[in-house]
């Protein structure tokens, strides 16, 4: 380290400084490219598409067609057996004007997303930071915390989760110690959504692993430099960890939101495919699945799916727009 480390004077901190510093000398050394500008652009284009080839084949061959087809379904009455019949906007109209189940479904899904996502993200990030504090011994904890996420959506999850939250089950008994008498959660209409949120939070391991991978990529030197500059733990966290981790935070935020909006397997398994009790696990995707495969209303299900897509797309778009103000891409600083 030939350190002419700058003192951190502003909020952007050492991270941005390091990047800026790093890119500074490049300008002078860049060989002039004049005649081949067009050619270079073309070469870049070719290279770009070459790297994207496998993805493009999959996208065009396997993804776009079925997606477009599902959009078409949404304007039809399609019972899976006879050819779809074009009915224009009828499915969408029914969805917004004449379907109390959809309204309930949308409401519980929103609660699930708005409450569950922040808690899960905070838990995952917090514990990832804790684990990152030291390496020795953290391997065990990493595995332990990730274990619940391994279990998938087998009937075991249903059995164990129902047992935990039944009347006189561990949760009920545990809360009784503190004088909180809630009884069983599983069959309690107003406690089922919280129970599903706790299930989601319990499976925070995947998100945590991504945060951990992100933390591993933060150069140790940045911390050392900051420490040398006398930055305290909080300051290091704010000025180094957060900006360096922001692309990963952004990723987890977006993907967790999408995942929560599309919650399916856990709710389906826990309710034995019914969406009960009283429709309280009938999240949007569970509802559209039941419409598609149990009721033979694939057209209507597709309409639900596309409404969900638009809602999530708007949220994703807004998130992408906010990136500039808080997500720091070291590789994009030029």
């Amino acid at each position: 380290m030939t350190a002419t480390t700058p003192r951190p004077t502003n909020a952007s901190g050492p991270a941005r400084r390091a990047a800026a510093n790093a890119s500074a000398p490049r300008k002078g050394g860049k060989p002039p490219v004049r005649p081949g500008l067009k050619l270079r652009e073309r070469r870049e284009g070719l290279a770009g598409y070459a790297f994207l080839t496998p993805w493009l084949i999959g996208f065009v061959g396997l993804t776009v067609g079925p997606m477009a087809y599902s959009l078409y379904f949404s304007f039809t009455r399609y019972n899976l057996f006879s050819d779809p019949q074009w009915i224009g906007l009828d499915n969408y109209i029914r969805l917004f004007t004449d379907d109390p189940q959809f309204i309930q479904s949308a409401q519980i899904t929103l609660v699930y997303v708005l409450v569950g996502t922040p808690i899960k993200l905070a838990a995952a990030l917090g514990i990832a930071l804790l684990l990152n504090y030291r390496d020795k011994g953290s391997g065990f904890f990493r595995s332990a915390f990730y274990a619940p996420s391994l279990i998938g959506a087998s009937v075991s999850v249903a059995i164990v989760w129902r047992a935990m939250f039944s009347s006189n089950g561990p949760v009920d008994s545990g809360l009784s110690i503190f004088g909180i008498e809630l009884g069983g959660w599983v069959g309690n209409v107003s406690l089922v959504v919280p129970m599903m949120i706790i299930l989601a939070v319990w499976q925070f391991g995947g998100t945590m692993v991504i945060f951990l991978a992100g933390l591993k990529q933060v150069p140790k030197e940045l911390y050392e430099a900051a420490e040398m500059d006398g930055a305290g733990a909080m300051r290091r966290f704010k000025a180094v960890t957060i900006p360096m981790l922001s692309p990963v935070i952004f990723f987890n935020l977006l993907l967790e939101l999408i995942g929560a909006f599309q919650v399916f397997a856990s709710a389906y398994i826990i309710s034995s495919g019914t969406g009960g009790p009283a429709g309280m696990t009938n999240f949007i995707t569970v509802y559209l699945y039941k419409r598609a495969f149990q009721d033979g209303q694939m057209g209507y299900a597709a309409a639900i799916a596309w409404v969900l897509l638009v809602v999530v797309a708007v949220i994703a778009f807004i998130l992408f727009r906010t990136q500039k103000s808080w997500v720091h891409y070291a590789g994009d600083n030029r």
Binding site: A68, P277, D295
Partner: protein
């Protein structure tokens, strides 16, 4: 060079191809196909069930192969809901197996859309119809074709748990009308509480559409007309649900919360209720789930609505059908005959697939315990048995489920009877028109 317009065009083109690719639904034509015993034939055969049933089918197919060594049968099996998800996808995308187990509630949908082979030409030839009761065989006929051959029959019945009743200290339900049954439930629930046993007389019996059907049939009315129109109105349904409103509120039935906590098991499976009305083939499952502590069940007649009415009926519990797209129609028919009629096959399965519909299969299966009880039961209700209703309308499964869900919501108190009636008719409207 690579501009957005181009990309868009490219994507559009690709989409077009995929649309053409996907532009197929319904069954492909085909069917028929003569059988030559010397020629190698492969039959794909799918059924629902667990590992136990699969093992029995393996034995049955070994027997079949002793007689028809050149027919290789490729089996595939899944649990019930997964089985139907797979079949629904195949039905939409082409590619049903040659022979498949079907259920009365899906039969109309599949046959009306031309997905099932008409087995009529094989009846009395490759498929022996002698051992079948006329009415039961007829339950596989829909949309003017013979869409399936029944493997088993079942009838609606009332199971009670004598061991649990003894613990509670209450006599078994002695028969009577619906009020008698309700009163018995109230007594049982009260006695259980007094005895310190966590149990109830039953769940709310208005939660199942079959009970509604039973009461309607007692008045001489089917739930749906031959044309698939509903044959009851809002008032009928309101009166039906109101029969137990008082008991629902008084806590005579097991609270819905306790029921939900048992899922995927039921309250009767876990000895929380002393009685349950359902199809009689559910008995074996109950016994297995109840375990050693509750070694026997009683199976008795459901309460009577109208003395002398023919409200009960036998339905095909499980059928075997052939795909309209099969190239081996005759081989499929021979295989189906063997699986439903062969006495040795009957002996292998016993009542694993329900009480055998075929006389030859039934008489050779050595029925004992609960199986014998079920056979006795179906014989004992003979004078209450009427004609089976027409094969359920398309969308019946949806209507049945909505009925069940509303029943649970009535128990939760999240809807009133009037709201439930409204919701049911709205949902039925959608189901019948899609």
């Amino acid at each position: 060079m690579f501009n957005t317009k181009r990309t868009a065009a490219l994507i559009a083109a690709a989409t077009g191809t995929a649309l053409v690719l996907a532009g197929c639904s319904g069954g492909s034509s085909g069917g028929g196909g003569e059988f030559d015993p010397d020629e190698e034939t492969t039959l794909n055969f799918a059924f629902w069930g667990n590992d136990v049933r699969a093992g029995l089918y393996d034995q049955a197919i070994d027997l079949f192969n002793e007689e028809y060594p050149n027919v290789s049968v490729q089996t595939s099996f899944l649990p019930y809901p997964d089985y139907w998800e797979r079949r629904q996808t195949e039905a939409a995308g082409g590619g049903l197996p040659d022979v498949l187990a079907t259920d009365i509630s899906y039969l109309r949908q599949y046959s009306e859309n031309g997905l099932l082979l008409d087995l009529e030409p094989y009846l009395g030839e490759q498929i022996d119809t002698g051992p079948f009761d006329e009415a039961v065989l007829g339950s596989g006929e829909v949309a003017d074709i013979t869409a399936g051959i029944p493997i088993s029959t079942n009838a609606w019945g009332l199971f009670t748990n004598p061991t649990l009743l003894a613990e509670i200290g209450v006599e078994d339900f002695a028969g009577g009308d619906w009020d008698d049954y309700t009163a018995w439930i109230e007594d049982t629930t009260a006695a259980a509480e007094a005895a310190g046993v966590e149990a109830w007389g039953a769940g709310d019996w208005t939660g199942r559409i079959q009970v509604f059907e039973l009461q309607q049939r007692a008045q001489g009315e089917e739930l749906f007309t031959e044309d698939g129109e509903p044959n009851f109105d809002e008032d009928d349904l309101r009166d039906f649900w109101n029969q137990t409103t008082e008991q629902r509120e008084a806590g005579a039935f097991i609270p819905q919360q306790r029921v939900e906590e048992q899922l995927p098991l039921g309250a009767f499976d876990t000895a929380l209720t002393a009685s349950e009305m359902t199809w009689d083939n559910f008995g074996a499952g109950y016994l297995a789930n109840l375990g050693e502590g509750y070694p026997e069940l009683n199976l008795i007649e459901p309460p009577v609505t109208e003395e002398g009415a023919k409200d009960l009926y036998q339905k095909a519990g499980m059928l075997l059908s052939a795909s309209a797209g099969t190239d081996h129609g005759e081989a499929a028919a021979i295989f189906i005959d063997f699986m439903v009629n062969d006495p040795e096959v009957g002996a292998i399965f016993g009542t694993n697939r329900g009480l055998p519909a075929s006389e030859t299969a039934r008489s050779s299966s050595d029925l004992s315990g609960l199986d014998a009880q079920i056979e006795e039961y179906e014989a004992s209700i003979a004078d209450r048995l009427g004609d089976a209703p027409p094969v359920p309308i398309v969308g019946f499964g949806n209507i049945e489920e909505e009925f069940r869900v509303l029943g649970t919501e009535l128990m939760f108190g999240t809807v009133t009877v009037d709201e439930a009636v409204d919701r049911f008719f709205t949902e039925m409207d959608v189901a019948l028109n899609s």
